[in-house]
């Protein structure tokens, strides 16, 4: 954590952005020269957490819904949701006594609806609603909760994604919002 002294003499904490969750998805979305205050891909929630945490959850694989077994639904979907809850609770616990920012990152296509992606879409819908509720609950604690949906991680998407994160970790005016970083591929579609 970086501590600086402002012009008013009050010590302030520079925003640190940490990524937690699925390493594969994190590495696809981040880039070292994104211009953010600090970016570190980590897979544990440190005890001295302050600033902002980006949760990039594991999203269940797409697949033919008709062929899915009860076991797959329970373990893949239910397991991924339990995992998300664990991440979020770990983050929120560490943000208990400080202002902070929680950002949940989801793939845009299954979130909006996609053929052959019923399980992924279900997960994304659940995560979206969870984030909405968290934003309402944590607002009184000055913790913002937002969701960013991204398209295929092209260089443009990664740059836009980093810029969007930067905007979301400045102040606590933006909370409960859902932003699509898709280069416009979602235009014209009703959002969930």
């Amino acid at each position: 954590m970086t501590t600086t002294t402002g012009t008013d003499g009050i010590a302030t904490t520079a925003t640190r952005v940490l990524f937690v969750g699925d390493p594969t998805r994190i590495s696809a979305l981040t880039q070292p020269d994104a211009g953010m205050t600090a970016v570190a891909a980590v897979f544990d929630v440190p005890a001295d957490l302050a600033g902002a945490v980006v949760v990039v959850p594991r999203v269940p694989d797409a697949g033919d819904f008709a062929q899915m077994t009860d076991q797959e639904l329970d373990t893949d979907l239910g397991g991924a949701l339990s995992e998300l809850l664990a991440w979020v609770q770990a983050v929120v616990q560490q943000l208990a006594d400080s202002r902070g920012h929680l950002i949940i990152v989801l793939p845009a296509e299954p979130t909006l609806g996609q053929v052959g992606a019923a399980m992924s879409g279900t997960f994304c819908g659940a995560a979206l609603s969870m984030a909405r509720t968290l934003a309402i609950e944590l607002d009184r604690e000055h913790i913002t909760v937002n969701t960013v949906m991204h398209g295929e991680p092209t260089p443009a998407i990664r740059t836009g994604f980093a810029a969007q994160l930067q905007a979301l970790v400045e102040g606590d005016a933006i909370t409960g919002q859902e932003i699509y970083v898709t280069s416009g591929t979602d235009l014209g579609r009703l959002r969930p």
């Binding site: 949701l81 609770q89 609806g113 879409g121 819908g125 609603s129 969870m130 409960g176």
Partner: protein, 250 residues
């Protein structure tokens, strides 16, 4: 007269489920009232028949694979097919994120989300063969976010997410998939809430009253026969979802 003629209503013994069964039966559907509470399901089926409708009752635990298979098979064999599935079974046992027990979260997802999806997968089989069908998921206005409702809102958001992808996937087979998202509905459960809370809720509803199970059932009846409406969420909340949210209440 609608084309679809048979319906399976899960959670059919509850206030909203019973109203849905009544409304579909009144439209001529042969209805299976399925619920984990078989005795109450039988009472609902009796009530439907008393009003001139055709109804059967069946035990259904949506978290149990054999039970789900049994309900679908019974509908197909005894009622003559499966044209409409209404996923109405659900529970509301929730807590704030800081105190929510993971076990409670998992149990709720199994009842509200995973079970209904698994049942839907079974229902798709006869619907695909018939080349028609309607799947209606009863979500909740809580899908938009509600204080103290991490698990419940996630489960209902999951249903909305499933609805969108499945609507795209099943549309070519003649199967529609939609959601109904009820807001505050007058049921036995909500009647037990403190009067001061009820007053605040009613004051926040633009139409000035709580909804009735019939309000939800009317929407389900429309969607059951609406072949050109799919992938949608119809919010039945008296306009509350466009008003100022209230922290601390459902």
């Amino acid at each position: 007269m609608t084309a679809a003629r048979t319906a399976l209503v899960t959670g059919g013994a509850g206030g909203i489920g019973a109203a849905i069964a009544q409304h579909l039966a009144a439209d001529g559907y042969r209805v299976l009232v399925a619920d984990v509470d078989l005795e109450r399901a039988q009472q609902v089926a009796d009530s439907v028949r008393h009003c001139g409708g055709q109804a059967w009752s069946h035990h259904l635990d949506v978290t149990n694979g054999q039970s789900r298979r049994s309900a679908v098979d019974f509908t197909v064999s005894e009622l003559g097919g499966l044209d409409v599935l209404v996923n109405c079974a659900g529970v509301l046992r929730d807590a704030r994120i800081r105190v929510l027990e993971p076990e409670r979260f998992t149990a709720l997802q199994r009842i509200n989300l995973v079970g209904p999806l698994a049942l839907t997968r079974l229902a798709i089989e006869p619907m695909t063969v018939a080349g028609r069908g309607a799947i209606i998921n009863i979500a909740s206005r809580a899908w938009l976010g509600t204080f103290g409702s991490t698990a419940y809102s996630a489960s209902k958001g999951g249903l909305v997410g499933a609805t969108r992808s499945l609507a795209l996937e099943l549309g070519p087979r003649g199967i529609t998939v939609n959601c109904v998202a009820p807001g505050f509905i007058n049921t036995e459960m909500t009647a037990a809430m403190p009067e001061r809370i009820l007053q605040r809720i009613r004051a926040a509803i633009p139409v000035g009253r709580g909804g009735t199970p019939a309000d939800v059932a009317e929407t389900v009846r429309y969607l059951a026969g609406a072949g050109y409406t799919t992938g949608q969420v119809l919010v039945v909340c008296g306009g509350r979802s466009i008003g100022v949210p209230m922290a601390g209440v459902v």
